[in-house]
């Protein structure tokens, strides 16, 4: 999974020669085999490294605050979303929905790596939702739909149809 995400990120960043990766340990932590320096270890570290290499520093946050928020969401993705238990899904989505009520992007007012990797991480959860469940987290689905349409992001994942007009309750609260 992580390797496919990194390859999608590389495409998003427009790099023309793909990097070489291997995985490490039971959890299959990705490792970027860098022929210059030391190997770069871990999804988050590699992603930030790639963004900087591609001269897209705004993707890791354009201010100290938003850089911290980006890291926080990337961390959240790795520790809470990945491999979450079925009974946790509701809480994860509910919390995210609440957070996104007054936000378009996860960090600041700009699209960042946090959006990309949370989108990748949340995708399997959204696939399983029925329409009514999607309507219950309208902010998540709105955000999700925006990110999946963001040019160059979706690569390895199937498009998920999002209905604009609610069929069930018009408002959750």
């Amino acid at each position: 999974m992580a390797l496919r995400e990194l390859s999608s990120l590389e495409k998003f960043l427009g790099s023309n020669k793909p990097n070489k990766y291997r995985t490490q340990g039971d959890k299959k932590v990705p490792v970027l085999q860098n022929n210059k320096g030391r190997p770069v270890v871990g999804l988050v570290t590699i992603a930030c490294h790639l963004a900087k290499e591609a001269k897209r520093p705004e993707l890791v946050g354009d201010s100290a605050e938003s850089r911290a928020v980006v890291q926080q969401w990337l961390e959240h993705r790795i520790t809470k979303v990945d491999g979450c238990k079925k009974e946790d899904i509701k809480t994860i989505l509910k919390d995210l929905d609440h957070y996104l009520q007054d936000k378009v992007y996860l960090a600041g007012n700009q699209f960042t790596l946090a959006d990309i990797f949370m989108y990748y991480g949340i995708h399997p959860l959204i696939v399983d939702l029925v329409i009514q469940e999607k309507e219950q987290c309208v902010n998540v689905t709105r955000w999700f739909n925006h990110i999946q349409h963001y040019p160059g992001v979706r690569h390895h994942l199937p498009h998920i149809a999002i209905l604009r007009n609610s069929i069930y309750s018009s408002r959750q609260h």
Binding site: N109, R142, H149, S166
Partner: protein, 438 residues
């Protein structure tokens, strides 16, 4: 890619639409928003401007290729790229839908509510209450639409977002305090996201959302009224308007205060709000020559027998100077009536100079072979034009020569130009007609 000039006054939300669109599309847009390139109320009334933009309104766009457009929405559309305009027929129509929505559902209510808080128009309680309801209706529609959407059309910023956000700028800055906007979280989320996109920020700067609803400011309104209103009227307006806010009784007749015709529109207000330039002549020592007195003599009495002798008797060589001017481009002068308009246009633009200047400018010759020259008397020892940016429009089209008041040349010229008769030896064409600046 479009490239051209946008005429506007500064901080015009209508112009912002075009400026932001250009930020997205990469269209090269020069801004003419301050003197000498553009002076609101002057440049847009010149014949040259009116021949391109018959309404005389801004914003107005002129391409480097000569292509001209007025109406801010058309200009913004022209300066956009396909993504902003909506790439499919459906998307393009939806963009148009929201642009029209902004003009017809937001702007009228927003203006009625916000302008009194800026002192631009008279406060009217009923009008303001109706406007608030109008704004609420528009907000509700937007809020519902944005529940499931990030931007108004499709998944990226379009002209719809640019237009609607710009038309809500004043609302969010002046009156939509947190409790008022609380029922419309989706609209605020969308608005904040829009105005924080780099392309918006480059034009708008930091947009600070209102913390406390601004109220009608009677004092500011009185201050901003143009002089044409009598002080009595001013006071009346101010008091009546302030009352309904203080006590909440339903005094029916008060609601009818402030008839529409007496109100300035937002454009006049912009003019009025321009910082009052300080009197450019304030630093000069007092003079014994009273310009008005001479002008009275010149207007009412015989020039040769009374006005000229009076002039030379009282003329203050230290406090005033005399100048000869000649139009630089006589070969471009065609019909004499048009040349005359050139002179009167200049006088009009120099209106504020009247207290400190006198001139007689004459047209010589006939159609297609004429020339313009004149004599100016100015307060001070320098040309007054550079003192004030408003005055610079025409002066560059003339050659200026300071005359020595003691010289024979000066005496003769003053006599001939003031009296509109004589040999005019240096001209070599017959006198045709003259215009006096007084």
């Amino acid at each position: 890619m479009a490239a051209g000039t946008l005429y506007t006054y500064q901080e015009n939300w209508r112009a912002f639409k075009a400026q932001i669109a250009a930020q997205y599309s990469g269209a090269r847009l020069k801004l003419a928003s301050s003197p000498p390139a553009f002076t609101f109320g002057q440049t847009n009334r010149t014949p040259a401007f009116l021949s391109n933009f018959p309404l005389g309104k801004v914003p107005a766009y002129q391409g480097d290729d000569g292509f001209c457009l007025f109406e801010s929405n058309a200009i913004a559309h022209y300066l956009s790229n396909d993504a902003l305009r909506g790439a499919t027929p459906q998307a393009a129509a939806q963009v148009l839908q929201w642009v029209s929505f902004a003009d017809s559902e937001i702007i009228p209510s927003a203006s009625t509510w916000v302008f009194p808080t800026l002192g631009i128009i008279q406060f009217n309680k009923q009008g303001t209450e109706q406007a608030k309801e109008g704004v609420k209706r528009a907000l509700a529609v937007l809020n519902h639409h944005l529940t499931t959407r990030t931007f108004l059309v499709g998944e990226r910023v379009s002209l719809a977002d640019i237009t609607v956000a710009c038309s809500m700028l004043w609302l969010y800055k002046q009156v939509l305090e947190p409790s008022f906007r609380q029922p419309y979280p989706n609209v605020t989320r969308w608005f904040v996201t829009c105005v924080n996109q780099p392309q918006f920020k480059a034009v708008l700067g930091e947009v600070k959302l209102c913390e406390k609803m601004a109220q009608y400011d009677a004092k500011k309104f009185a201050e901003m009224q143009p002089k044409k209103e009598t002080p009595a009227k001013k006071e009346k307006g101010g008091k009546e308007a302030a009352k309904p806010q203080e006590k909440k009784e339903k005094k029916k007749e008060e609601k009818k205060s402030a008839p529409q015709e007496e109100e300035m529109d937002d454009c006049e207000a912009v003019l009025a709000a321009e910082p009052k330039a300080k009197d450019p002549f304030a630093d000069l020592p007092k003079s014994t020559f009273v310009m008005d007195e001479f002008k009275r003599k010149y207007s009412n009495e015989d020039t040769l027998k009374v006005a000229l002798p009076f002039f030379w008797e009282h003329f203050d060589r230290e406090g005033f100077s005399i100048w000869y001017c000649e139009y630089k481009y006589p070969q471009e002068l065609t019909y004499t009536f048009m040349s005359c308009n050139l002179i009167s246009g200049m006088y009009q633009r120099l209106d504020k100079l009247r207290k400190n200047a006198f001139a007689s400018v004459l047209l010589f010759g006939s159609d297609n072979q004429s020339s313009i020259s004149g004599i100016w008397v100015f307060r001070g020892q320098n040309l007054a034009f550079p003192l004030c940016p408003d005055w610079q429009i025409d002066y560059e089209s003339y050659d200026w020569r300071k005359l020595d008041p003691n010289s024979e040349e000066c005496k003769t010229m003053v006599k001939e130009y003031f009296a509109w008769e004589g040999d005019f030896k240096h001209v070599g064409k017959a006198f045709n007609q003259g215009k006096v600046f007084k």
